[in-house]
């Protein structure tokens, strides 16, 4: 009897877990829809800003600014120290979403051990702590609600680091939702700008455009552009990651749902068999008993 009771409890437990994962699935899917809308809304601003910066690269005067780098983004110096912004989720249960970001972070950090890490999301902080990778302790941001305000704060902090030459480059590690099905971790260079980042058409930078007048001065305009761009970039990376996180959670939870359903079905089958077996046993016992009784009576009568 105890075996059957155990099975019964297990079936109930599996079903209850299924209910929780199903609820998590639903929550993630609504969050994803909302975040997708936000991501779409940032596109026009961001694309225009990009083409604006592209225009500046075309300007006939050579742009001599610490924000611009005339070489290729692939030229790296091994011991450069980087400022790295890592975007992870606040909690787990999202498939490989967090672990692939952590893997990328480890890879970049091991190449540039003097880098400073800035981690968004509680999960990333815990994971890096466990791996003994140091990160900035006083950098607290949640990945749950990406806002312009927090992106601006992050941008100011990173750019200050860059402008005071404490780091040579700024990188961001986030997850991009490439299409409805594919999401991949990305390591992207934020600072300095290189020509190839803004080579949108892919056919090299075209001929110089008619000259622009800079108001109030080229330096000031550049500074504004850089701050706007980096803020915008961080915002869209945060939103992009948030979308990916929700999507990863959705997939993880939907396979958890399937698993729960399969396990429950299997257990139910076992339960049925066991119950049937027990009933059969009882019937055998009863009929054997009846037979014995009948035999006994026959002997007495004889």
């Amino acid at each position: 009897m105890s075996g059957i009771q155990n099975l019964k409890n297990r079936i109930k437990g599996v079903n209850d877990t299924g209910k929780i994962t199903n609820a998590m699935y639903l929550i993630a899917s609504t969050k994803l829809q909302k975040a997708r809308k936000e991501l779409e809304a940032t596109r026009p601003y961001f694309n225009t800003l990009r083409s604006g910066i592209r225009r500046l690269f075309q300007s006939p005067e050579k742009l001599d600014s610490p924000y611009f780098f005339n070489g290729s983004r692939k030229d790296t110096i091994p011991d450069d120290s980087y400022g790295i912004l890592v975007i992870t989720a606040d909690k787990g249960m999202a498939g490989a979403y967090n672990s692939s970001i952590i893997k990328q972070t480890e890879w970049l950090y091991n190449r540039h051990p003097s880098s400073k890490l800035f981690v968004v999301g509680e999960f990333g902080r815990k994971a890096l702590e466990a791996k003994n990778i140091p990160f900035e302790e006083d950098f607290f941001y949640t990945s749950q609600r990406p806002t312009i305000k927090s992106s601006r704060e992050i941008a100011y902090r990173l750019l200050d680091l860059y402008e005071s030459n404490q780091v040579d480059r700024l990188y961001i590690i986030y997850t991009d939702m490439k299409s409805a099905m594919i999401e991949e971790p990305i390591i992207d260079l934020i600072m300095p700008f290189t020509k190839e980042d803004f080579d949108i058409d892919g056919d090299g930078i075209p001929d110089p455009a008619p000259p622009f007048e800079f108001i109030p001065s080229p330096e000031k305009v550049l500074r504004y552009i850089v701050y706007s761009y980096v803020t915008g970039f961080i915002y869209s990376a945060l939103v992009d990651s948030f979308c990916s996180e929700q999507y990863a959670r959705m997939t993880a939870m939907s396979s958890a749902n399937d698993n729960a359903r399969n396990i429950a079905a299997e257990l139910q089958m076992q339960y049925n068999r066991m119950r049937q077996g027990e009933i059969t046993n009882e019937i055998i016992e009863v009929s054997a008993g009846a037979k014995a009784q009948a035999l006994h009576k026959k002997k007495e009568n004889a």
Binding site: E38, A41, T42, P44, Y45, F46, T48, L49, G52, R55, L56, I148, R152, E153, Y156, R157, D160, A209, P210, P211, F212, E213, F214, I215, P216, K220, V221, R223, Y224, I225, Y227, S228, T231, G232, Y235
Partner: protein, 139 residues
């Protein structure tokens, strides 16, 4: 009156797309007015009040936090990190944020935080001003 195509994009939404007669944006040393056929300019925009007018329409007011304006071949692109139309500004929230910025200033922490707090104060003071001046529909 001649018009020009204008696009005003905030980082999280589209504020305006269409023909425009006149545009005034805040810049570091005052106001910058744009009419049709302006020469090519790249311009740093600071926190302040923004005004634009559609052909035959009334002046529209909005607050802008900071941004960039590109003018090229009579096309005008205005990009702002945060832009809110006067009637959409949340007065209570702006006042709250202004107080928060004030407190941050008093804490007297690092240089970055000081600059950020100053900028935050300016943005919210500007929001409150635009809301109070132009927030209601003109009678």
């Amino acid at each position: 009156m001649n018009t020009f195509p204008l696009k005003i994009y905030a980082s999280n939404h589209i504020v305006f797309e269409g023909e425009c007669e006149s545009l005034v944006v805040p810049i570091t040393n005052g106001q910058f007015g744009v009419l049709a056929n302006h020469e090519n300019v790249v311009c740093a925009v600071t926190a302040g009040m923004l005004m634009y007018r559609e052909p035959g329409g009334e002046n529209q007011y909005a607050s802008i936090s900071d941004g960039i304006m590109f003018i090229e071949d009579n096309h005008v692109y205005l990009l702002g990190t945060a832009i809110e139309k006067a009637e959409e500004i949340d007065l209570a929230r702006s006042e709250q944020d202004e107080l928060e910025a004030e407190e941050m200033l008093k804490l007297n922490r690092s240089k970055v935080e000081y600059i950020a707090a100053k900028a935050m104060m300016a943005r919210n003071a500007n929001r409150i001003r635009v809301r109070k001046l132009y927030g209601r529909e003109p009678k």
